[in-house]
Symmetry: C2
Subunit: 410 residues, 2 copies
């Protein structure tokens, strides 16, 4: 039997406890006796919880107990999660985290501490919730040159965009509905402005490169400017709109951003709707592989943390290797990124835009049905360095939307 502790008894921490308890028999097939939760660290008391007797407020109770070999860190935030994780690793206790903020900021440091002390630092649940993603990417695709990772990594915004697509509702209305359903926070900025996706694509980019891609170097656009009109044009031409984290190797650097994209029908991410997440990994031999599932939620995320705790428990005394060094990976400057754009603007400016983009146009998109409100034009560009597109349009007013696109033959 493995004795474990939980750092942080919130939504995900209680999910981990539920999975370990409910599926004790499954787990005992590979960890004789299963994984027992001996302590739960939280600043709160939970007098009505069946786990009330395991609550402790002092991390040293856990760190000084030589029986403990694995902890899960489901506290969120950088501190005290970083200090507690680091101290656990320094005592040879493996740490399994769902904390994307901590992993993004200190992943390589914690991995180095784990390697030094013959234990593991694992973080499957930090990206894509319950979806098996990081472990398959690092193990089952270890023979691949991975050149691109992109995905729908935030369930809240994907729910909102799916609603806009199917109901024609505007951004403000779907946000309010998502808040009422508890999918969006009262302060929704981390989701709708793309920061949550940005942290997750930073982690995936770093794992793709084996070097650090820093979140604060990643361009980040959210979904706040997406309109029902954009969806109408997109739908009439076989596209939908999704918020993607996108990372691809471009020569010796990585081109990485978070932004809304037009995604064509037939693309594997097109069918990832509602609160689901999907991550596409491109390897030069295997081509495209996608991992799909619930990107959030107490039990799915708890399940992913439990998977890591089992992996760590099967490797007591050694380190499950994850190649991610502190060395910085060069990031392609925003203007040098290669993108195609959907552009929509005031009808009065159409001629000026067509002239400015002379030679860079792929198509002009007429709307098949008249759209409500005043008249607009829409067009799509070929793939160019972004600065060439932006520079061409610099002097032109009346542009309402510029949204990147995935090519139709993805």
């Amino acid at each position: 039997m493995i004795q474990a502790a939980v750092f942080g008894f919130g939504n995900i921490g209680s999910g981990v406890v539920a999975v370990l308890e409910e599926n004790r028999e499954q787990i005992a097939r590979v960890i004789p006796g299963g994984i027992a939760v001996k302590y739960i660290l939280d600043i709160r008391d939970f007098p009505d919880s069946p786990y009330a007797d395991r609550i402790v407020h002092d991390v040293d109770v856990i760190l000084n107990d030589p029986e403990i070999s694995v902890v899960c860190e489901t506290m969120g935030g950088k501190e005290p999660a970083y200090t507690f994780s680091r101290r656990a690793l320094e005592r040879g206790i493996s740490v399994c985290s769902s904390n994307k903020e901590l992993v993004e900021a200190f992943g390589p440091k914690l991995l180095a501490a784990a390697a030094e002390h013959h234990c593991s630092y694992l973080f499957e649940a930090s990206v894509g919730g319950g979806i098996p993603l990081i472990t398959p990417m690092l193990n089952c695709l270890v023979q691949e040159k991975i050149t691109e990772v992109m995905g729908i990594l935030n369930g809240t915004t994907n729910y909102m965009l799916t609603k806009m697509q199917h109901c024609g509702a505007d951004y403000g209305k779907v946000l309010q509905e998502a808040q009422e359903l508890g999918y969006a926070e009262r302060d929704p900025r981390a989701d709708v402005e793309g920061h949550d996706t940005g942290r997750k694509i930073a982690i995936l980019s770093s794992l793709m490169c084996g070097k650090t891609v820093r979140y604060d170097e990643i361009s980040c656009e959210g979904i706040t400017k997406i309109t029902p009109e954009d969806f109408v044009f997109a739908a009439q031409h076989g596209y939908t709109i999704r918020l993607l984290g996108m990372s691809r190797l471009q020569e010796d650097a990585v081109s990485v951003l978070t932004a809304p994209f037009l995604v064509p029908e037939g693309h594997p991410l097109y069918g990832v709707t509602d609160v689901f997440n999907g991550v596409l990994v491109h390897g030069t031999m295997v081509d495209d592989v996608m991992f799909y599932g619930r990107g959030a939620g107490k039990l799915p995320t708890g399940s992913a943390v439990a998977a890591d705790m089992i992996l760590a428990s099967r490797n007591i005394g050694s380190t499950v290797p994850i190649a991610w060094s502190e060395e910085l990976m060069p990031v392609v400057p925003a203007g040098e990124r290669i993108s195609a754009f959907f552009i929509r603007g005031d009808k009065a400016q159409e001629e000026a835009v067509l002239k400015a983009l002379d030679g860079k146009l792929e198509a002009v998109w007429e709307a098949e049905d008249s759209l409500e409100g005043d008249e607009t034009f829409a067009l799509v560009t070929k793939e160019y360095r972004e600065k060439e597109i932006y520079n061409a349009l610099e002097e032109i007013s009346g542009i309402r939307s510029m949204i990147r696109m995935l090519p139709k033959e993805a």
Copy 2:
């Protein structure tokens, strides 16, 4: 460096060699020196191949070389693949197979031989080609009670059904086109009659249950009777048609079959088109997870075999555990399976069918546009034991299609 051998230098065997060679640097990150192919066993000579000097015709040359620690078995068929695999395992040489026929027939025997001789028998590439599926299912979902596995497991038929969906072409025409493109064999029965999918769902079912689900106990329906009219009705009501391998726990037995299904828009398998494969795994905690990618092809399948060779190489001297015993898993009798059906038939029989299915109907489907040819009716039933549906319709003639359906809220 690991010294390896390839059994069978056909399409997939040469793909394995290409992946190991091309991505030697990637592989050397985890296997110092990489994996070198010392021998290639084939009955043919390949005088023009750069690997001509490694070709051997006698398996004992390989088995008697103490340097060899891993082989891949990409021969196909039961013999001599079984004998060669077994003899390799008995010498402590790990075997990585893409051979679904062998895995389905002798998986537990070969796993037992591997365990006895402290080496591994792995077969990621036997189902879903390049898609990381078996390793994630056995490792990343080991904490889950898996209650259902279903998937699009055959690229040839999925290509054909996608063509029928988009072009309205009939079965004979798309088969001919698939043969011309090399997607379908000259004798297409293994694909179109569902046998290939059947072997693959037998393997996945066995892994879900930890016991043996035998291919010859699995009901197997192919796509040969699917018509353009079925697709028209399906599309008008938000469905498409896909050939699925489907396995779900039903009390203490497993309900398993290969058959075409109506799949609703919004279901993750709906968007799996062309030659791609997708496999949905349902766990009680994580809910639905899907793995998607290329289910065939020299390089994708070679990549999956290479992943197994790396996994075996990282575990020299021990056995990568796979729980699959020879004990037979009880299979739900066909008539006891719970299914909903789409039923289409001669208009003249509509009244008789409605009467026979009284109380079992979900809806009558009118076609929105008139279909070519003579008049038909279409309806869908609720979920019932299949024998209740079949018995009700036993006396009625003029039924043209009966196709199972996935529920809309999957």
